[in-house]
């Protein structure tokens, strides 16, 4: 079943003070099936964040429209959880407070909230850090809290914008496995933006490759690696074939934008 429909979505940012306007996305049309894990791969500046923000309802498309579960998107809502590229935990709330934010907004009773919060704290492996402030956490821990915060709300789809972009290689690998594990349990529909080819293959069931700016869909590759996956799959022949193929696609784009 299709959950997300992106129909002819383009985005032009107006220029400031006579500067020419920026065409960030050329019209994009695609759909995402329920419970699918789709990675969006593209070079820096190709409009990945822009596309995700439009689906989240944080930006208006210049043309076209987005529907999620049959409902046209007219603004942000709790049915689309988002994890941002930059750290966006609320610094005045503890880890537990951050995860409970959406639940409080929904008006859940404290007992129920605590129950859900404890569940997701366990899931992202942060037991013992419930009452820490965000500034006391490492970057990786902050993004884990951000993922837990989005999941606790039980959204229909989860939008992740390079959540591990700022982490070192090892930590990033661990976080990818953690995310896959969560996904295996919850089976949410996930849209995951990245510019890391390995990450795109390792996580996704399908990888949408975008061209350099102005972004358009250059290739749509299905990734038929067996699940559940762990880090061993990163050296399997199938994995390396896919990596080669996507590297070629991305390389052309990177070259054309240099």
């Amino acid at each position: 079943m299709t959950v997300v429909v992106v129909d002819g979505v383009s985005k032009t940012f107006p220029g400031f003070r006579g500067a020419s306007s920026t065409l960030a996305l050329t019209p994009i049309t695609t759909t995402v099936a329920e419970n699918d894990f789709v990675t969006i791969l593209g070079p820096s500046g190709c409009g990945k964040s822009t596309l995700l923000r439009i689906i989240a309802g944080l930006d208006e498309p210049s043309t076209g429209d987005v529907t999620v579960a049959g409902q046209p998107v007219h603004g942000p809502g709790s049915d689309r959880g988002m994890v941002f590229q930059a750290y966006t935990l609320f610094p005045w709330l503890t880890v537990a407070g951050n995860i409970a934010f959406g639940l409080r907004e929904k008006g859940l009773a404290k007992q129920e909230r605590d129950h859900i919060v404890a569940h997701y704290i366990d899931k992202v492996g942060l037991r013992g850090f419930e009452s820490h402030w965000p500034k006391q956490l490492s970057g990786g821990m902050q993004q884990r809290v951000a993922i837990a915060r989005a999941l606790a709300n039980d959204p229909k789809i989860l939008l992740l914008d390079e959540p591990f972009g700022a982490l070192d290689h090892q930590t990033r690998g661990l976080m990818q496995e953690l995310l896959l594990q969560i996904w295996e349990d919850d089976r949410k529909t996930v849209l995951f933006v990245t510019h890391d080819i390995e990450e795109a293959i390792f996580l996704g069931s399908r990888c949408v490759v975008m061209s350099a700016r102005p972004g358009r869909i250059k290739a749509d590759v299905s990734i038929d690696l067996a699940r559940p996956r762990d880090y061993h799959v990163k050296v399997a022949p199938d994995f390396l074939d896919l990596k080669m193929r996507l590297t070629e696609e991305i390389r052309e784009e990177a070259l054309s934008s240099v």
Partner: protein, 274 residues
């Protein structure tokens, strides 16, 4: 050899104080703070006891302490101090009650800001002390007039500074809250206000300091009590010891209230770096 090493370590420790933004140990911080006061009093003593300045212009420290004692024990100066503190806090609390909610509303809703901002910006530059003659006409020389001076001096400053603080809330936090299902009112209540709270408290601390200068001016003109009134009385008698004592008392109260304010802020907002 060890001589060289030791002097090297020495230089490194000394160099620490030259490094920008580098914190100094708590003991050194307190010592440096006290050193200034010691030097200040030493300079003052030198000027007065050394006979460089005539007592009629500047009393020496010993005279000042003696005069202060007389003020406290014989002239009921404690009462004046109490009245002045009451006036400052009364006017300040009144201003806060009105200014903080209005500032938050202006920061949150651009239409509210567009409505009030030009007037408040204009009113902010009206000196509170220039209103004193007018306020005496309207409210007499009673307590209402004193409170109104403080109120006028503080309210517009607080409104504008709170509005700016709230308006500068990180947009990405607001967006994150929206994706978590927050309503518009939820954004104001659960993002804008908590995000700005430490900075608002800091604003209040700053403006409270200014309120002290307004109250003294208000008491210099048309008043029969308070620290400012005592200072005017002492001037008529050329008693510089009393004047200086009054000024130092004001400074001390300011220091204490500032200290308390900071301590409360740290307790209320442990997550904030301010």
């Amino acid at each position: 050899m060890s001589q060289v090493l030791r002097s090297d370590a020495h230089r490194r420790r000394a160099g620490r104080y030259l490094r920008p933004l580098r914190p100094v140990p708590a003991a050194a911080r307190i010592a440096l703070g006290l050193l200034f006061f010691a030097l200040f009093i030493a300079g003052w003593s030198l000027a007065t006891f050394g006979g460089f300045v005539k007592p009629i212009f500047l009393a020496d420290p010993a005279r000042m302490v003696a005069e202060g004692w007389v003020l406290l024990t014989e002239y009921g100066f404690l009462n004046d101090i109490g009245i002045t503190i009451w006036r400052v806090f009364g006017g300040f609390v009144l201003a806060t009650i009105i200014a903080v909610p209005l500032g938050i509303a202006m920061g949150a809703w651009k239409a509210v800001e567009a409505f009030f901002e030009p007037f408040v910006s204009f009113a902010r530059y009206l000196p509170a002390s220039a209103f004193i003659p007018l306020l005496i006409l309207w409210a007499g020389i009673g307590e209402t007039q004193k409170l109104l001076v403080i109120f006028i001096g503080a309210v517009f400053q607080i409104i504008l500074m709170v509005a700016v603080t709230v308006g500068q809330t990180r947009k990405d936090l607001v967006e994150a809250a929206y994706t978590l299902g927050a309503t518009d009112l939820g954004i104001v209540r659960r993002v804008l206000i908590p995000a700005s709270a430490p900075q608002i408290a800091e604003t209040l601390r700053l403006v409270l300091g200014w309120a002290w200068t307004y109250v003294i001016v208000a008491e210099l003109i048309g008043s029969s009590s308070g620290i400012g009134h005592m200072i005017v009385d002492s001037q008529a008698l050329l008693n510089t010891g009393q004047i200086i004592f009054g000024i130092i008392v004001i400074g001390l109260i300011g220091l204490i209230s500032d200290f308390l304010f900071k301590a409360v802020n740290r307790r209320l907002f442990p997550w904030s770096g301010i």
